[in-house]
Structure formats: structure tokens, C-alpha cells
């Protein structure tokens, strides 16, 4: 795409009425600005349009799908990625995935799904592709916003004024690098998982995978199939869950038990029983016992990891103590000599366009939002998709979008009353939307249990409807 045309052409024609720092500002009236056209951004556009708002969405890539469009440079998916959450939890609740797709679709099907969603609801016409949001600044009243955009490959900046901003920029694209002694001196190749895309990168190599999340386990399995050796290092033990239990996708079985109102303690017992009956004792396989109870960490769902460990093709190892020039030493004193290290140490949230206090971002870079959705200080600023559900993302993103749309509609109808209602909530203690507790790790900053969280959204929607 030619950068000259990537910034809204209509703004060039319309005369600017206001100025900001000596630059013209194009007032877009009641229009809402959406940042990102991944799955979350698309459902925000759709639900805002459905509620009667006009929408300008900015997407720095040239197509929809976000993380699931593996042609995007920042896409974290690799050739073999399949969902870990089954269809009923992952899809938008009002746009079901086709029946003839598998329980766990491939990433290319996810992209097809988003493209069809965008076409079905005519969303692309509201998206300015190849356009990046550079700055989001509140006006002095703290209610309206000046948003500065520019072509992704450079070009002139423009500032537009919006009634509200909904951020849907995703949180799985900026690598979280670990600090490990000696890593800089290590002579082998070091790669973050975000830069891994294809099994050919592993073929014939001696690979060490660091990290026991879903990425780490997927890549360890892939290395088992492609590499000459594979070590898998985790700094704690996990409850590796299979993709199928009780004859159905594991998340469906789990929700069936919850629907039957089995208490958490009983489900924990059942889960450990099932694992004992199938895999058996973890330590027999050389794995550490988990340092937390089942359901206290983001689920790691992988049926093949145990299989390859049992076949001796993956060697589980503890945390890395230090790297040397030629190899690596582990916490238990053992060592290995990989020539490729893959850091599957997860991702961190980045909001490069907003000053930290807008989203309550602390020194560690962790945002604090109300309902994990709304800015705690600015009523017309929300972040959709900043959740990590133990199930699928997009049913949650849909209901977040519906909640934001209803809130903004109420705000638009009577700002003073809405502001008063907003003020009453101010200072309410922050809460987590998980069952029980979760293990302490940056990995769990955004963890939500889908039932606990959706119930909270339900209450918010009910309140908004009653008001």
C-alpha cells in the first residue's frame, strides 16, 4: 500500500476546526476510535456499530486477524499452531464457527474465521489499514481524546478528536525476555518464541526450550519431532492437561462438571485422579511435582508432551542456572550443550501510545483496570482483550465489547448522570476474576476464569440495562 494514502484521505479534505500544539485537529464528533483490528478489535467495531456508533479503527498491519494472521511480522503463531480452547469457547457467541471444522481449529482457520466475520458484518470499511496509533491524549476535561496516527511505514502524522477510545492492541506480541546469567556470552543461537515460525528452524539442531507455558510445550513437542535433541526447561512443575478427557474436549468436560455444580475441590480431586490414571506419577517421568494446585495456573493443554517425554525424546530439565560459552548449566548442577535456545518465556503488554497513568500502569508495566476493561480514571477509555482466560478469548472479547458499547451509549445519553454513577464506583477495591487463587507469576497478570469473569460482565450489563 502506498503510504501517502494510508492516513485517512477524508481528513485532508475536511477543514480542521481546532488546534493542538500548533497542529490541526480533525474533530470526529461522536465517533469512537478503536485501536487494532485483531479478533478483539473486530468485535469492538461490530458491537459499537450495532449500538449505533460511528467508528474509526486503526490497524498498523494491512489486514485483519492480528495474532492469527501469521503473515504479520508480529504474529506469535507458528506453522503448527492449533487452538488450545475448543470452538464453543473460542468463537464469538453470535457467529458460530462451522460445524465441519475440528474441535481445535488450525491458525489458518482462525484467520478465515476473522475475515468472514469482517465481511459478514461489513467491518473493513471502518478500518484504516496500514495506520498506526502513535499517541492517545485526553483533553483537559478528561472525557474526549486527541488521537495521533501515522502511516505504519512512516509518513505525516495527523491528529483526530474522538468521543471515546477503545484499545484492542493485543498483549501477545511483545516478547518478555528473561535475564539469565551468561546468556550474552553463549555462542549458540538464541531465539524468542515470537520469532519461531516453522519446524525447519529446528531440523537437525540440539534444542533447549525454556518455558512451560503453552508455547514452550508446543515447541518442545515440535523439537521432539524435528530436532536431534530436545531439552525442556521449566522453573516449576505444571499440571499438563490433555486435550481430550471423558470423551470430549477437556474444556467442554470441565464446563460440564461446573454446570453440574461440582465444587472446585471435587473437580481438583477428579482432575488429579484422571492424570494419575492416565499419565501416572509425574516424577516417574522426571518431571517436578507442581508447586500449586490444579486450576491455580493458566492451563497448559498438550497431549503430546508426555508422550514424547515417555519416549525419551524430550528431556525435562529444571531452571537454567547460567549459560557458558558452549552450553548451559541447570539449577540441579546438570548441564547440556544445545546449539539453539528458544525462549518461550511469554509476552508483555505494551501501550506505547498512552502515558502510563491512563491505564494505571505500575513500575513493572502491569496495567490496572476496572473490571479488567475500563480505565480507572477516564470513563471514555477501555481496553478490550486484556484478559487471559483459561478458555477461549473471543466470547469474552465479544461481551467486553457489548459492555463497553452499552456504557458509552449511556454516557452519550446523559454524561452527567453517567459520570455520577462512575464516581460512585471510584475507589472500589480491585478484584481478580479467578476461581480460588492463581500462582504468583507475571504470566497470570491478566488471568481470568471465564465463568467468574463473564458473570461479572453479566452483572455490569444488567446494571446498565436497569439504569
Amino acid at each position: 500500500m502506498d503510504d501517502q494514502y494510508t492516513v485517512r484521505p477524508d481528513t485532508a479534505a475536511s477543514a480542521a476546526r481546532v488546534w493542538h500544539d500548533g497542529q490541526p485537529v480533525y474533530d470526529r464528533g461522536d465517533t469512537v476510535c478503536v485501536i487494532g483490528a485483531g479478533g478483539s478489535g473486530l468485535t469492538v467495531i461490530k458491537n459499537l456499530r450495532e449500538a449505533g456508533f460511528s467508528v474509526d479503527c486503526y490497524e498498523r498491519e494491512t489486514s485483519v486477524g492480528g495474532a492469527w494472521n501469521w503473515r504479520h511480522d508480529r504474529s506469535p503463531v507458528y506453522a503448527s499452531t492449533h487452538l488450545i480452547s475448543s470452538k464453543p469457547f473460542t468463537q464469538f457467541p453470535d457467529f458460530p464457527m462451522p460445524d465441519d471444522w475440528p474441535d481445535y481449529p488450525h491458525h489458518s482457520q482462525m484467520l478465515t474465521y476473522f475475515e468472514r466475520y469482517a465481511d459478514h458484518f461489513g467491518l473493513r470499511e471502518h478500518v484504516w489499514f496500514g495506520t498506526e496509533v502513535a499517541r492517545v491524549e485526553p483533553l483537559r476535561d478528561g472525557r474526549r481524546w486527541d488521537v495521533t496516527v501515522r502511516g505504519s511505514r512512516g509518513g505525516q502524522e495527523r491528529t483526530l478528536r474522538y468521543a471515546a477510545v477503545v484499545v484492542a492492541n493485543g498483549h501477545n506480541w511483545s516478547p518478555r525476555y528473561p535475564e539469565i546469567e551468561g546468556l550474552d556470552d553463549f555462542r549458540g543461537q538464541v531465539l524468542h518464541a515470537s520469532a519461531y515460525s516453522d519446524a525447519a528452524q529446528l531440523r537437525g539442531r540440539k534444542v533447549l526450550v525454556i518455558g512451560g507455558g503453552n508455547t514452550g510445550c508446543d515447541l518442545a513437542v515440535e523439537a521432539a519431532q524435528q530436532a536431534t535433541r530436545c531439552w525442556h526447561s521449566t522453573r516449576r512443575g505444571y499440571w499438563y492437561a490433555p486435550k481430550y478427557v471423558l470423551g470430549r474436549p477437556a474444556d467442554q468436560a470441565n464446563d460440564l462438571l461446573r454446570w453440574l455444580r461440582l465444587p472446585l475441590a471435587l473437580r481438583r480431586w477428579l482432575f488429579t485422579r484422571l492424570l494419575r490414571l492416565t499419565v501416572g506419577d509425574f516424577s516417574r517421568l522426571g518431571l517436578r511435582e507442581p508447586d500449586h494446585k490444579p486450576y491455580e495456573s493458566h492451563p497448559v493443554v498438550n497431549s503430546q508432551l508426555m508422550y514424547y517425554i515417555g519416549h525419551g525424546v524430550i528431556t525435562p530439565v529444571p531452571d537454567v542456572a547460567r549459560f557458558t560459552r558452549g552450553g548451559v548449566e541447570f539449577a540441579d548442577g546438570t548441564s547440556a550443550d544445545p546449539d539453539l535456545v528458544v525462549l518461550a518465556t511469554g509476552y508483555q503488554p505494551v501501550f506505547e501510545f498512552a502515558s502510563p497513568e491512563l491505564l494505571g500502569i505500575d513500575a513493572d508495566g502491569r496495567p490496572r483496570l476496572r473490571l479488567q476493561l475500563f480505565s480507572r480514571t477516564h470513563p471514555t477509555l477501555a481496553v478490550v482483550g486484556l484478559v487471559q482466560p483459561g478458555s477461549g478469548m473471543f466470547s469474552i472479547a465479544h461481551w467486553q465489547a457489548v459492555t463497553v458499547a452499552r456504557w458509552l451509549r449511556r454516557w452519550g445519553a446523559d454524561p452527567e448522570r453517567a459520570a455520577a454513577a462512575w464516581g460512585r464506583r471510584q475507589g472500589k477495591p480491585e478484584r481478580r476474576f479467578v476461581q480460588g487463587r492463581v500462582a504468583d507469576s507475571s504470566r497470570h497478570w491478566f488471568e481470568v476464569d471465564h465463568v467468574v469473569y463473564l458473570r461479572a460482565l453479566q452483572r455490569s450489563l444488567d446494571e446498565l440495562e436497569a439504569a
Binding site: 453470535d94 461489513g122 444488567d462
Partner: protein, 267 residues
């Protein structure tokens, strides 16, 4: 308006996949016209709309589709199908269409469509000769047409009389031809028609039109008025026609009126 978010039973137990018959007629240039999806009622298949309405809708410039619920027409068999499975069939086909669709449900499938509206933000919906069931309706059907209704109590397909489906204007040969193609819904779905919860509110606030004949002996004036009132309107009436508006002698009048309604700029 109420919204129901948490549906654990449905997430845990999705309806079984099934092969679905979808017939279509595409205009050469659809422009901005939304696709129209016809959902035939219990016992009917896509054929019921393929007879006239499908082509006519296409000629008027709308991409037109007619589907068969599971266990009907050429769709895969499903002897234990529930209303929920039928609703699932409708949302599956609707979501497979290129654009946001208008749903047109006939007879008991008007209820199925009404339920689907809570699951799929339709562009608009048309309920044709709607049969919303309920115990009262079942009881009066029993009185009016015991021959058809009594066997249904024992799980046999509901068999309306030909005189209920078509007006006397329709030639006997046509009546016999159509009647020979009738099948039946599953026994479970028939029972659910008697006892089901009212459809949830539609999502996305679609405009809803109710169409029927005051002389329909299955869904008469009272039923039409009651359903239309639920959606805040009055029914569009075509006197002198039977239950199967789309197959009756004067089939063109109702579909022309429906498409006129869709053509209005605010729909």
C-alpha cells in the same frame, strides 16, 4: 432487554454436526441487498421455498437461500433432534452466508427463527404463519384436528390436513404433490413445541415482521396478532390463504409484500 451470557450447558454439549441442505439462487448483481434465508417449518424441507419464493426473491435482486432443518428434506437424519439443534442449524447456515442475513421462518420454524434471533444478529426477520406452540395451542389443535394431533402425542409426526395447509384455490394435483413430500419433525422437538420457554430477546435489535392469513386454521388471526405484538407491531394479513403461504395459489402476494418491506430504507 435481557442478555444471557453464561451458557455452560450449551458450551459443554454442542449439538452434533450434521449435513445440511441449502438451496440458493443468486442474482447477477445483488448490490447492497442482504441475503434472505428461508427456514421451512416442521415437516417441510427447502423444497417448499424452492417452488416459488426462492426464484422470485432472487429476481427481485436479493441473494436467496432455503435450508432444510436436520431430519428434513435432504439434510442429514436426526430422529432425536431438539429445538436447540434446529436453532443451531439456522445460526450455522446464517453465519455461513457472505453478509448479515434476513431470516424468514415459517410455521414452527418461525419459533426456531425467533430463538435463533437471540443467537445471531439478523439484519431483519420475518415470521410467516408463526406457530409458537405452548400448551394452549396444543390443546386447541387437539380439538380441531384430533386425527393429526393424537398420533403426535405418541411421537408420530404432526400431520396437518391438506385443507389446513392450502386454500381451496390450489389445484388438487398440486396439493397432492406437496402433501406427498411432507415429512415430520422429531418427536422431541414436537413435544418441546408444546412446552418451551419463550424465545429470548433478539440481539442487535432487528426489525421483525409477522405475516400470515386470518384464514389459516393453524396460525390464525389471534396467534398472528399475539406474535406480532411481542415484536411491537401488527401482522400483515393475506385473507383467503392456507397455512403454507409459499405454496398456495396466490403465493406471490405475501413474498412481494415481504420484499417491499425489506426494500424500505429503514429496514
Amino acid at each position: 432487554m435481557t442478555t444471557k451470557i453464561v451458557r455452560q450447558r450449551e458450551w459443554a454439549l454442542p449439538p452434533a454436526p450434521v449435513r445440511r441442505e441449502v438451496l440458493s439462487a443468486a442474482p447477477t448483481d445483488a448490490g447492497a441487498a442482504p441475503p434472505v434465508l428461508f427456514v421451512p417449518g416442521f415437516g417441510h424441507g427447502a423444497w417448499a421455498f424452492a417452488e416459488y419464493w426462492l426464484e422470485y426473491t432472487c429476481e427481485r435482486g436479493f441473494p436467496a437461500y432455503a435450508m432444510s432443518l436436520r431430519g428434513h428434506g435432504e439434510s442429514g437424519s436426526a430422529s432425536k433432534a431438539t429445538l436447540r439443534a434446529y436453532v443451531h442449524d439456522v445460526t450455522q447456515v446464517a453465519a455461513s452466508l457472505p453478509r448479515q442475513a434476513v431470516l424468514v421462518g415459517h410455521g414452527a420454524s418461525a419459533l426456531v427463527v425467533a430463538m435463533a434471533l437471540a443467537r445471531y444478529p439478523a439484519r431483519a426477520a420475518v415470521l410467516v404463519s408463526p406457530v409458537f406452540g405452548g400448551p394452549g395451542a396444543a390443546f386447541s389443535a387437539l380439538l380441531r384436528n384430533p386425527l393429526a394431533t393424537v398420533p403426535a402425542v405418541f411421537g408420530r409426526p404432526l400431520r396437518p390436513r391438506r385443507g389446513q395447509l392450502f386454500s381451496r384455490e390450489l389445484p388438487v394435483a398440486d396439493r397432492t404433490r406437496h402433501a406427498a413430500r411432507l415429512g415430520g419433525a422429531s418427536a422431541r422437538a414436537q413435544w418441546q413445541l408444546v412446552a418451551h420457554r419463550a424465545p429470548e430477546d433478539p440481539v442487535g435489535a432487528p426489525p421483525v415482521l409477522v405475516v400470515g392469513s386470518p384464514d389459516d386454521r393453524i396460525a390464525g388471526r389471534a396467534a398472528l396478532t399475539a406474535v406480532a405484538r411481542r415484536y411491537g407491531g401488527a401482522p400483515l394479513l393475506f385473507p383467503g390463504m392456507g397455512h403454507d403461504l409459499m405454496l398456495d395459489m396466490r403465493w406471490k402476494e405475501p413474498i412481494a409484500a415481504i420484499l417491499d418491506w425489506l426494500d424500505k430504507p429503514d429496514q
